[in-house]
């Protein structure tokens, strides 16, 4: 079973629209995982039924039992995150500020502080309109640990793919270069980098590729809005050559790209010309990864 991960470094490059199109082409041979949990949008194109949902708990958060508290202030003294303000003469924990280090509970003389695992999100297992299953999630507001939620989504997808003998897992990866994208990348067989020929797009492509390189994963690149700036597009292609990244496709700037999304459709369903570009990438990807779909 193979794992194909789509990432982009920066947002707004069309990553999710492209992933959804690949999901459409792969149909029931794939399990889909939306690991962009911070701004999970893929479900808007896949019509999921939210068939099963499960709360996801992670980390810790402190809670002060006011009946047991003798207001000695020790907890506030040791908290390095200013997460224990005094409100109406009571010491209380600010849940958005608490890092869950547990230090306050260890120094409280009356054991008034307990730690519990907060709910940081929900994970869904859905039937989607491409005849397969998608694992997706929603991160709670202000939650930390999105890396752990990403890992959870991915592992569920892998387990299911193995159980159902699917050919591959297709992952809509997280943005950025931090912990969530590291979780998205680990174990990948192939990475698709979606970029655009802008100064910032190239900058972010280089940064995120450093990470891909560390993992030693083979990569390909789709340049979206490829005709927006020829000079930068050339720089992008030069970079791809230097790093031995396969150029999968160049998609021209076209408002139909966004129109498709507005109509709840993938690009391959909506516009023939743009669709061809995606199909062409998909053929290259399946060849490189060595799968038949």
């Amino acid at each position: 079973m193979k794992e194909i991960v789509v990432i982009s470094g920066k947002g707004g490059t069309g990553k999710t629209s492209i992933t959804a199109s690949l999901a459409y082409l792969g149909g029931e041979d794939l399990i889909i995982a939306d690991c962009d949990v911070d701004a999970a949008d893929m479900h808007l194109l896949m019509a999921p039924d939210f068939g099963q949902s499960e709360d996801f708990y992670s980390g810790e958060i402190a809670y002060i039992d006011q009946d047991a508290c003798i207001k000695c202030g020790k907890c506030q003294d040791v908290c390095r995150f200013d997460a224990i303000p005094v409100i109406d003469t009571q010491y209380v924990v600010d849940p958005l500020g608490c890092e869950g280090c547990g230090y306050c509970a260890r120094v409280c003389p009356t054991d008034a502080i307990t730690n519990s695992q907060p709910k940081v999100g929900e994970v869904y297992v859905s039937n989607v309109r491409t005849g397969t299953t998608m694992i997706h999630a929603r991160l709670s507001i202000g939650a930390d640990n999105s890396g752990k939620l990403v890992a959870k989504v991915k592992n569920e997808a892998k387990t299911l793919a193995e159980k159902e003998n699917k050919i591959a897992v297709l992952v809509d990866g997280s943005p950025g270069v931090g912990c969530p994208v590291v979780s998205s990348l680990s174990g990948a067989s192939f990475v698709i980098l979606v970029t655009e020929p802008t100064v910032s797009g190239l900058h972010d492509l280089k940064r995120v590729y450093e990470l891909v390189k560390k993992f030693g994963i083979k990569a390909g690149c789709i340049i979206n809005k490829a005709d927006l700036n020829e000079a930068v597009a050339d720089d992008v292609k030069k970079f791809l050559k230097e790093e031995d990244i396969v150029l999968l496709s160049e998609i021209p700037y076209n408002v139909k790209f966004t129109e498709a999304m507005t109509n709840g459709k993938t690009i391959v369903e909506y516009d023939e010309d743009l669709g061809k570009k995606i199909s062409e990438s998909w053929t290259k990807i399946t060849d490189i990864v060595g799968i038949e779909i």
Partner: protein
């Protein structure tokens, strides 16, 4: 006066708006632009200014001093992040995992884990006339953005007075880093696009700022593409739409060159003018209240 510019997801034009707005305001008064997207600061690509100051930013992590250690294992027991481990006759600290809570250090019976500084990133300050640009960048592999965001805001607070307009380009998303970047703001501008993705992410962002009880308004970017669902949503929820920026290939091209937009594109200039007037309005109201 602190304005945070945020969006539920990346790529909606947050950085474009921050850089253009700050540069425009700086034509007539002192303005600070601070890029708090410390994982991937991008604003600097659009700002031409001179580097005037640079400093390393540190976080505190424990360092093991072998001589007095009794190998009691208490440090490992109190660390909630598995960042300190007892391995045989050694105590190992994993700096990337450490949140700097001081528990192991202060609860060590023999003071064998004093807290020491470790570099987590770099802050740079640039200046061009009235425009001050402050940018921080995490070193690669460093996972915690929040402490660096905090220190960057503190730097801006220490160096610029209350009367200066401060614009913070926040990281994308709705998790800890965004909360940290926006929690002290007087006003939040949410940038979105009029598409289903834009609407979905805007709703999450609205929930986030509402939870923090900060006044906010919306700027719709790439207006004309997609549909009117974002506008309808804002009307229903009584959310102010400060202005719109049209969808225009010329804007995308100018942006792709790493250039500011408002000097050459009239529609963008109009938009930044209306936003800056909106901000001036809030600012004078705020000053009125404190007087």
């Amino acid at each position: 006066m602190k304005i945070a510019i945020a969006s539920g997801k990346g790529g909606t034009g947050k950085t474009t708006l921050s850089t253009n707005l700050a540069s425009y305001i700086a034509e007539s008064r002192i303005c600070v632009l601070s890029d708090l997207d410390v994982e991937e600061p991008n604003s600097g690509l659009f700002i031409k200014a001179e580097l005037i100051h640079k400093e390393d930013k540190f976080k505190m992590i424990p360092e093991w001093e072998k001589s007095k250690c009794e190998l009691c294992g208490n440090c490992q027991a109190v660390c909630n992040f598995n960042a300190v481990l007892k391995m045989g006759k050694m105590i190992m600290v994993f700096p990337e995992l450490c949140h700097g809570c001081y528990a192991c250090s202060e609860l060590c019976p023999t003071d064998s884990l004093p807290m020491k500084q470790k570099k987590m990133g770099e802050l740079k300050s640039y200046k061009n006339g009235n425009l001050n640009f402050i940018e921080s960048k995490l070193i690669i592999g460093e996972e915690q953005a929040v402490p660096l965001i905090k220190q960057t805001i503190a730097y801006v607070d220490d160096n610029f007075g209350e009367d200066v307009i401060k614009i913070f380009d926040s990281p994308p998303g709705t998790s800890c880093p965004v909360i940290e970047a926006t929690r002290d703001a007087d006003f939040v501008i949410l940038v979105t696009e009029p598409t289903p993705f834009g609407l979905h992410d805007l709703k999450l962002a609205v929930e986030t700022v509402k939870q923090m009880r900060i006044p906010f308004g919306v700027v719709i970017n790439r207006h004309g593409i997609g549909n009117d669902s974002v506008e309808l949503y804002c009307k229903e929820e009584n959310i102010a739409i400060i202005t719109t920026i049209p969808n225009d290939r010329l804007i995308a091209e100018t942006y792709s060159q790493g250039k500011l937009l408002y000097p050459t594109i009239p529609s963008v200039k109009e938009a930044v003018i209306s936003i800056s007037e909106y901000i001036e309005n809030i600012n004078s109201q705020k000053e009125g209240e404190t007087k």
